[in-house]
Every structure is written in structure tokens, then in C-alpha cells.
């Protein structure tokens, strides 16, 4: 089993305190529950947890508006202690633009999947980036439509079997996966681009820093910021929960380079 469940459950802290041990982990206070309705082995709760930790640590809870796309992660609408608007599939960057333009001092981020942001809504995110909207777009990329039960998205990798690419994604028939952050590097309005992952504890910690940098970029008004996070989807990949991180490491990470892709020098100051 990956670290997923231990980290989300938040149940390890209480008995340790009683035993006089140092409290080293608890769930983010911005997540209003110990439970969620996503599948075992799903990577999305990991990403959302560290995102919430960042907002809490930045003291921005009362200053933040989230725009949620449509996917498994939409269920977090009920759990996040933040003002939230749910958007249509693919349209969150446009909706976030509307919010940010009328409330320019708020922290506005989108939470979308690869199916939402890259397959259905790539026009919205590209134009938001080109306009240099001072929002943070977050893409949870599991290379599949998880919510529908495992179908091809624009980021499904070559050879990946889905319910709509039964013999594996074939470039001759299904085209090639899109690397969105790399696409946006040349846009003048784009200040910060990064890709993280949550399939190991180290990767989760690194992703938390990427989120922080993106949110700081927005807070300082430097331009558009985007973080794509590779998230395990054992259900959509047709592997066991335990095999999820391995599948991600072997199949996704070689295609989607993890790390910072564009970083404003103002962040160093």
C-alpha cells in the first residue's frame, strides 16, 4: 500500500500524542473530514491535502476562492473549508478569471483534472495563460477519465489501455499526449509552470513546494501560474492500488517530466 491512506486518515496522530510522542502529522484543518469518497490508491487526495496545507500556512484561508472542475476531485467541494465555485467541465480558468478580475486581491485557483483542463478545456487554460490572468491553475493529471471508469484523455500515454483504447493508445488512431506546461513556456503572461507527482512521500513533499511557489507567484501579481500533478488512478489504469505508484513511475513519469519548468526570478527575492 502506498502512503496514501495513512496520510489522509489522520488517525495516527491522536494515539501518539497520548503516548507522549511528538505529533508529526495531522490532516490540514482546511479539510473538514477524515474521510473521502475516492477510490483506494487514488492520488488526488494527496495533492489536495498539500494544497490545503499551503493555503493554511500562508494564512490565506479567508482570502481564497477555489474553482472546481468536474471529475472525481469535485467531491472535495464538500470537504474544503474554502469559498468554492463549481465550474462546467473545462471552463474553470474562465470562471476563475471572472472572479479574479472583480476581486483582484483574492487568491483564486482552479482545481481540474487532465480530462477537464487539457481534453475538454484547453482553450480556456491557454487563453487565461495568454492573458496573463493572475490565477493559479492546478491540473491533477492521471492520464485517464477516472470518474467515467477509465477512458482515454488527451494525456493518456502511448500504449495505455483504457476502455476507449482497448489495444492501448495508438498514435496512428488516437494521436499523442499533450504536455500542457511545456506548451505554455513561451507565453509572456505565464510566470510559473511546474509539474509534480504524489506517488512517493518525497514527491508529495516536493509537490507541496511547487504549489507554494505557484500561489506566491499569484500573490505577488507576477502572472499566470500552473502546476500539473501526476496522480495515481489505479481504477482507471486497471491495476491494484498497490501497483499505482509503480505504474506511474514506469509509464507516466518518463513522458511527463517532473519539476519546475518556468519560475519567475522575483520569487527568489
Amino acid at each position: 500500500m502506498s502512503s496514501t491512506h495513512v496520510e489522509q486518515s489522520g488517525t495516527i496522530a491522536a494515539p501518539d500524542v497520548k503516548a507522549g510522542l511528538e505529533k508529526v502529522f495531522t490532516r490540514s484543518p482546511l479539510l473538514g473530514t477524515d474521510t473521502h469518497s475516492l477510490c483506494p490508491g487514488c492520488g488526488e487526495p494527496n495533492a489536495v491535502r498539500v494544497l490545503m496545507e499551503n493555503i493554511e500556512e500562508m494564512g490565506e484561508r479567508e482570502n481564497t476562492v477555489c474553482v472546481l472542475g468536474i471529475g472525481c476531485y469535485t467531491a472535495f467541494a464538500a470537504l474544503m473549508d474554502l469559498d468554492t465555485q463549481q465550474a462546467m467541465h473545462g471552463r474553470a480558468p474562465a470562471q476563475a478569471t471572472g472572479i479574479k478580475r472583480v476581486l483582484p486581491d483574492r487568491l483564486v485557483f482552479t482545481l481540474q483534472g487532465d480530462g477537464d483542463m487539457i481534453t475538454e478545456g484547453i482553450q480556456e487554460v491557454i487563453h487565461a495563460a495568454a492573458r496573463g490572468e493572475k490565477i493559479t491553475a492546478i491540473c491533477l493529471n492521471n492520464a485517464a477519465f477516472g470518474e467515467t471508469g477509465g477512458h482515454m484523455t488527451a494525456t493518456s500515454v502511448i500504449g495505455q489501455r483504457t476502455k476507449s483504447t482497448l489495444e492501448g493508445r495508438d498514435p496512428a488512431r488516437h494521436g499523442y499526449p499533450i504536455r500542457l506546461p511545456e506548451m505554455l513556456t513561451g507565453f509572456e503572461g505565464v510566470a510559473y509552470l511546474a509539474r509534480g507527482s504524489v506517488h512517493t512521500p518525497v514527491a508529495v513533499k516536493k509537490t507541496k513546494k511547487l504549489f507554494r511557489a505557484a500561489l506566491e507567484t499569484q500573490k505577488r501579481g507576477l502572472g499566470f501560474s500552473l502546476v500539473e500533478v501526476l496522480t495515481m488512478c489505479p481504477t482507471g489504469w486497471f491495476v491494484t492500488p498497490a501497483e499505482g505508484p509503480k505504474f506511474q513511475e514506469e509509464r507516466l513519469v518518463p513522458v511527463f517530466r517532473v519539476g519546475e519548468i518556468k519560475r519567475p526570478k522575483e520569487l527568489e527575492v
Binding site: T35, Q85, Q95, L103
Partner: protein, 386 residues
């Protein structure tokens, strides 16, 4: 602008004279600004382009936002975001652009987003699109059809008022003639739009000193809050997607009771009623007067709210057995609602038709009171038996 509260809207605004000679599109845009609209976005398309042009100039003057959107789909979702943040927000488009917005319009009814959407259509071929939608589902927007530049002004005020009063998106349906015809207008909120509005306790502005708010069209509830009727509890999806649909349909009935508006004239002794909506209502009214000069007792009805449709007015006409002649610049769309209204108790004739110039705009040879008069002469012999 940094504060969404209504009280702050308009502060510092450099509003022009209260009386002006303006095209309908410009008049509507100015009235929207005076009604407190501070977010506008649009994509150019004749004949809604003038609204975008006007807003691009005026919005910066009043500290508002005007965005040139890359597509109508993006535009309507920007309006969703801004209106959801508590700011009066509007988009205008035309016919095809409206078709692109349909998914979001449908869900904005369910999500209770009080935005104002303007369709400056090319003629009147969007009646079904405007009144049967937006998009999917059983729910509808409130749809207002102004018949003059002055009424477009009043409609802009009223649209924002109704949108917030009912927390329901409002569509204004005009056309080429309304948008491009210049008339003298005065700017003042109609008396029915000055009653106090409910506080925006739903606006997502950042949860300062309060519990979080969730704006959703899917019936989701925040943990700890009761789910919508028949909702699913914690541990599941915490949603009941049918709850917003049921609530919207219930709201429709209340809106229909309170907000149905219709212009009528010369009905008392009428033996035939001619009806039209929008600016063509003026042509139909004039034709009815000309018919009376010829001794034909013709009455006149102009639905102003297309949703809620004035079914009761037509039910009464049906109960009196008075035939109805429906004039509209399309292949026959509102005529269906008129037939529903008279409940089979009166004859309904369609005397309209598609009449545009070659570019597809709304001024063809049939947009003429004398043409309507000729049609009245044709159907009048079938008038109610004395």
C-alpha cells in the same frame, strides 16, 4: 474594484446625461452600467457588437471590467465567476454565440447565478432557443423581450433586479432592429426595480470570518450542512443533483405568478387579436390600428416576458373564442406558446415568416406594418362568430 457589495457599486462613476439619443444596443449597455453592472465580456458579432464597443469604452470610466473573450463559451463562464463573486455581470451575444453558451446557461439556472445575458439576435429565430433553454434540463431562464430602446433601458435595470431577486439568470432578447435603431431614451430605474434585494449570502468572496460557501449546480453540500432533499450523507458524493432541478421548477411557478408581464390594447371588443414580441410588437400594434380604421375590430397583445409566457392572457382570449394571428420574424415559434395559451378554444393563425436581407439580418420586406395589415385582412374574415 475590490469590493462586491452593492453599496459600493457606482461610487465614483462618471455617469453622463440622464437623457440621450442612442442606438438600442448602446442604450441597453449604458443602462446596465447605471444599474450597477461592473463586469462585462463579449465576443464581437453583429448586432451585439455595439454593446461590446460601448462597454469597452465605458467600463474603465466607472472602474468596471470589460474583457474581450476568445469565445462565447469562455465569456459566459467568466460571467458565472464574476456574478458568483457578487458583482453584477453581463454578456451580450448574437444567435450563434448564444448557441455556444447553452451548457453553462442551463447550469447557471441550477446553480442560481444571477447573471444577465443579452441576445441581440439577427431576427427572431432564437425564440425557441431563448425560451426553451438554456440548454439541457427542464428549467428555463427568465426571458425579457424589450420593444424599444427606452424599454431596453428599463429592461436592463429590471433584468439585474429580477436576477438577484430570484437568484436566477435573466436573458434579454432583442434583435437587429432594436440594437441598431436610435431613439431618445431617459435613464431612471423603473419603480418595480427599486425594492430592496436580499443580501448576497451566497457570494464566494473568500470566507472572511465566516463558514465557507459553495456555489454549485450539482446539488453538492458542504460537510456538516444538510444535503438537498433526498441527499446522500457523508462518505458518499454528498450530492443530490436532482434537488436544484426540483427547486428551479418550483421557482419557475413563483416567478410566473409574480413577474409575468404583457402589453395589451384594444381587446375589449376585439374579434381578432394580432400578437408579436419585441420591436415587431410596435409594427403589429400600428397594423391593428390601421385595421380598425378599416372597420376591423382587431386587438393587440405583446408578450414582454417570454418566460414566464403570458399564458393567462391567451387563455382568456381563448375562452372568449377570439382568433389570434401571430406575427414573428421566424418560421413560427412563439405561435406554439400562443396555441398552448388558448388551449384549443380559439383559432390561431401564423402570419409571420422568415424575412431578412441577404446578410441574414432582421429587416426584410415583411417587417412592415402594411404587410401585417394585409395579413390581417386575409385572416379577419374568419373572426369570431358574432
Amino acid at each position: 474594484m475590490s469590493h462586491p457589495d452593492r453599496e459600493s457599486i457606482g461610487s465614483g462613476a462618471t455617469l453622463g446625461p440622464a437623457r440621450a439619443f442612442l442606438e438600442g444596443g448602446h442604450a441597453l449597455a449604458e443602462a446596465a452600467i447605471r444599474a450597477g453592472c461592473r463586469f462585462y465580456c463579449g465576443y464581437p458579432m453583429t448586432p451585439s457588437t455595439e454593446v461590446l464597443e460601448y462597454m469597452a469604452k465605458r467600463m474603465p470610466e466607472v472602474g468596471g471590467v470589460c474583457i474581450n473573450v476568445e469565445a462565447e463559451i469562455e465569456g459566459i463562464n467568466m460571467v458565472w465567476g464574476a456574478a458568483g463573486a457578487g458583482v453584477r455581470a453581463m454578456i451580450a451575444s448574437t444567435t450563434n454565440g448564444m448557441s455556444l453558451m447553452q451548457e453553462s446557461l442551463a447550469e447557471m439556472v441550477l446553480g442560481r447565478i444571477p447573471a444577465v445575458v443579452v441576445n441581440m439576435g439577427r431576427a427572431q429565430g432564437d425564440y425557441n432557443q431563448c425560451t426553451r433553454s438554456g440548454g439541457h434540463g427542464s428549467h428555463r431562464m427568465i426571458v425579457l423581450a424589450p420593444g424599444s430602446a427606452q424599454e431596453a433601458v428599463e429592461t436592463a435595470y429590471r433584468a439585474f433586479h429580477l436576477a438577484e431577486k430570484w437568484r436566477h439568470p435573466v436573458l434579454i432578447y432583442g434583435d437587429f432592429m432594436l440594437s441598431h435603431t436610435s431613439e431618445t431614451v431617459t435613464f431612471a430605474p423603473p419603480p418595480d426595480t427599486v425594492e430592496p434585494l436580499p443580501e448576497k449570502t451566497w457570494a464566494t468572496t473568500g470566507a472572511r470570518g465566516r463558514k465557507p460557501r459553495l456555489l454549485t449546480s450539482l446539488g453538492m453540500r458542504i460537510e456538516g450542512e444538510p444535503a438537498g432533499g433526498g441527499g446522500i450523507g457523508p462518505g458518499e458524493h454528498r450530492t443530490d443533483t436532482t434537488a436544484p432541478m426540483r427547486e428551479a421548477v418550483k421557482r419557475h411557478l413563483e416567478i410566473a405568478r409574480a413577474e409575468t408581464r404583457v402589453e395589451t390594447a384594444m381587446l375589449d371588443d376585439a374579434e381578432l387579436v394580432v400578437t408579436a414580441f419585441g420591436i415587431l410588437g410596435r409594427f403589429a400594434k400600428y397594423a391593428a390600428r390601421l385595421a380598425r380604421e378599416e372597420g376591423m375590430r382587431v386587438g393587440y397583445v405583446r408578450p414582454y416576458t417570454l418566460v414566464p409566457f403570458p399564458y393567462a392572457t391567451f387563455a382568456e382570449i381563448g375562452a372568449r373564442g377570439i382568433p389570434v394571428a401571430v406575427f414573428e420574424n421566424n418560421a413560427g415559434q412563439m405561435v406554439q406558446d400562443v396555441r398552448l395559451g388558448v388551449e384549443g378554444r380559439a383559432k390561431v393563425d401564423f402570419i409571420g415568416g422568415i424575412s431578412m436581407d441577404g446578410s441574414g439580418f432582421g429587416v426584410g420586406p415583411n417587417v412592415d406594418a402594411l404587410h401585417i395589415l394585409e395579413k390581417i385582412r386575409e385572416v379577419y374574415p374568419q373572426r369570431r362568430a358574432a
